[in-house]
Amino acid sequence: MGAALLTYGVARHSQTVLLKQAEPSAAEAEKTLQESEPALIREITVGGLRRNPAGELERTYGEGETPSLCPT
């Protein structure tokens, strides 16, 4: 069962993540990225993800920036 969960997480599981935009405009559609679970794990180790008030996953840093929110 553990191997099955591990395999599913590595090979299949992914989540849609909103990318942070410098100046979000209403006209421009929100950019999203489909991130695999290993990528999500790497993101959380640097405090790079949060859940926004709408319940969506959102990056805490924009393009060209580095994440600054360390959970420790």
């Binding site: 069962m1 553990g2 191997a3 099955a4 969960l5 591990l6 395999t7 599913y8 997480g9 590595v10 599981h13 989540q15 679970e37 290993p38 990528a39 999500l40 794990i41 790497r42 959380i44 180790t45 640097v46 993800l49 949060r50 859940r51 319940g55 996953l57 360390c70 959970p71 420790t72």
Partner: protein
């Protein structure tokens, strides 16, 4: 009627058990990522903070808590813990965990140690359910009781080195919260007067692996033909267990000190041996 033979108590643990600190040190070397690989897409299986400047894998407790905060199912972390726990259970705590290793080293300081009843180990499940799952899920990662915000391993391995690095670089070091400082000071002081205080009272990862002590492929067994319930193994157990009856106890870190008694044996799922332990003597 022939009297049951007394089990032989070895004068000291086997060479393998005596070398446990060296094996822990070897694992530490791996976790410290000497090749700077930073494989943080992989969930580790020991309590080693990924905020540490030297961390090879992601901390499984941090992954569980953050995924709970994000309302995402942590398939990889759950799968990793099931696989590793199913194979070796509490051996991870006793032989591979770097924070356990630190506590073992501090415990070498010759100070009289407090022994708490083994039921206090169930408090770890409150930490697991509360600080790792419920608080992150309902209040998010910003809550002051989010596990990473109070974790002493994260403080000693990640936050303190980062503060020192920032201060040494002339930057403004961001200090930890007062609560986290209090937890760190409490745990560090407790390390001197209690064997493995974090593991035995609070560790959520030890709580998970402890469950597998009953099912893991590698396990300890008291041979009912050799055990005479003399209680010698109780005096050897640093976790204050009664090994002849509690070899599957979630608190057991598999340090194997009790294997000085020849009635207690290491077995694997491939051994033709029943897991059942002897019934307590009347």
């Amino acid at each position: 009627m022939a009297a049951m033979a007394e089990p032989r108590i070895r004068p000291k643990p086997s060479r393998f058990v005596r070398g446990r600190l060296w094996i822990q040190a070897a694992f530490l070397l791996v976790w410290l990522d000497p090749l700077a690989l930073r494989l943080h897409t992989i969930c580790g299986s020991v309590y080693h903070c990924y905020a540490c400047p030297l961390a090879l894998f992601a901390c499984p407790v941090g992954v569980l808590a953050n995924f709970s905060a994000l309302h995402v199912v942590p398939f990889i972390a759950a799968g990793t813990l099931l696989v590793v726990g199913g194979l070796v259970g509490g051996f991870v705590c006793g032989w591979a965990c770097p924070f356990g290793f630190l506590q073992d080293l501090v415990a070498k300081v010759p100070v009289p140690k407090v022994r708490l009843p083994s039921w206090t180990g169930y408090f770890r499940y409150a930490v697991l359910a509360g600080l790792v799952v419920a608080v992150p899920f309902f209040f998010g990662e910003a809550h002051p009781l989010f596990i990473c915000r109070v974790c002493p391993a994260g403080a000693l391995e990640g936050a303190v080195p980062n503060m020192v690095r920032e201060a040494a670089g002339g930057g403004s070091a961001v200090s930890m919260s007062a609560l986290k400082w209090a937890v760190v000071v409490f745990i560090v002081v407790a390390m001197f007067v209690k064997f493995r205080p974090w593991c035995s009272l609070f560790c959520p990862l030890g709580a998970i692996f402890g469950v597998f002590n009953r099912f893991s492929a590698v396990f300890l067994r008291a041979n009912p033909k050799k055990c005479v319930q003399c209680g010698a193994c109780r005096k050897m157990c640093p976790m204050n267990l009664a090994p002849e009856k509690q070899l599957s106890d979630p608190l057991c870190i598999r340090c194997m000190q009790c294997t000085r008694c020849e009635a207690i044996e290491v077995k694997t799922a491939f051994s033709r041996t029943e897991r059942a332990e002897p019934a307590p003597a009347d």
